[in-house]
């Protein structure tokens, strides 16, 4: 089975905070290379060099982290 080393994901800018996405990318920097760009209403995240030895879905976990970071940041901002 061939391992996918390159994927991209789009995160809507009204639902994900830029800093939260950046923080998630930093968290997973040891397992892949992340490039974040603005693409209309979205942050287009290009994920390259995904570590084949990682047991789990790096991209999906990255998205979960981006969401958790956004939720945390929004909550802190409100408080």
């Amino acid at each position: 089975m061939s391992h996918v080393t390159h994927q991209s994901v789009k995160l809507h800018r009204t639902l994900y905070m830029q800093q939260a996405v950046k923080d998630a990318a930093t968290t997973f920097a040891d397992f892949a290379a992340f490039t974040i760009k603005r693409d209309g209403d979205y942050y287009a995240v290009d994920i390259k060099d995904i570590d084949p030895d990682v047991d789990g879905d790096v991209v999906a976990e990255f998205c979960n982290f981006a969401l958790a970071n956004t939720a945390g940041r929004k909550k802190t901002k409100k408080a």
Partner: protein, 146 residues
Amino acid sequence: MGHPQIEKLDPKTHTMTLSLDIGLYPADVLYAAAYVFLDRAYVLLDRAGPRYEVHLRGKGELTEAQLTAMSGEFENELLAQALRRKVVKANQKIIEDITSQAIAGAAGGTLPTDFLAAGDDGMDFLDDPLGIAVPWEDKFKKKKDA
């Protein structure tokens, strides 16, 4: 359609897409509900016109029935979070009052330094002007000779 609806459900990939009316669910409610599911599903939020789209993929294998159940749980969580938000908003003043009273109480408690500030009354800790330290037997013993 107002209530959440399953847009897509695929047991082969353990994925499901829910569509929610933006007007019914504020963003914080959506975040709070999604947060609860992060430990057992991969969650991706999106927007499609006047609706939120919630893409869920189980971290483990899920049957169609389990995916449908997960969708129901997500909807329940949305309602629970919406109610929680409403209750917090309604009781905001009470919560703030209780918290400030608790903080004031903690800050205004008696400290050991307060005793020092009271000043010295010239007494030693062994002095016993009220006779409190005198044993009961000594105080009230019958005189043997009487």
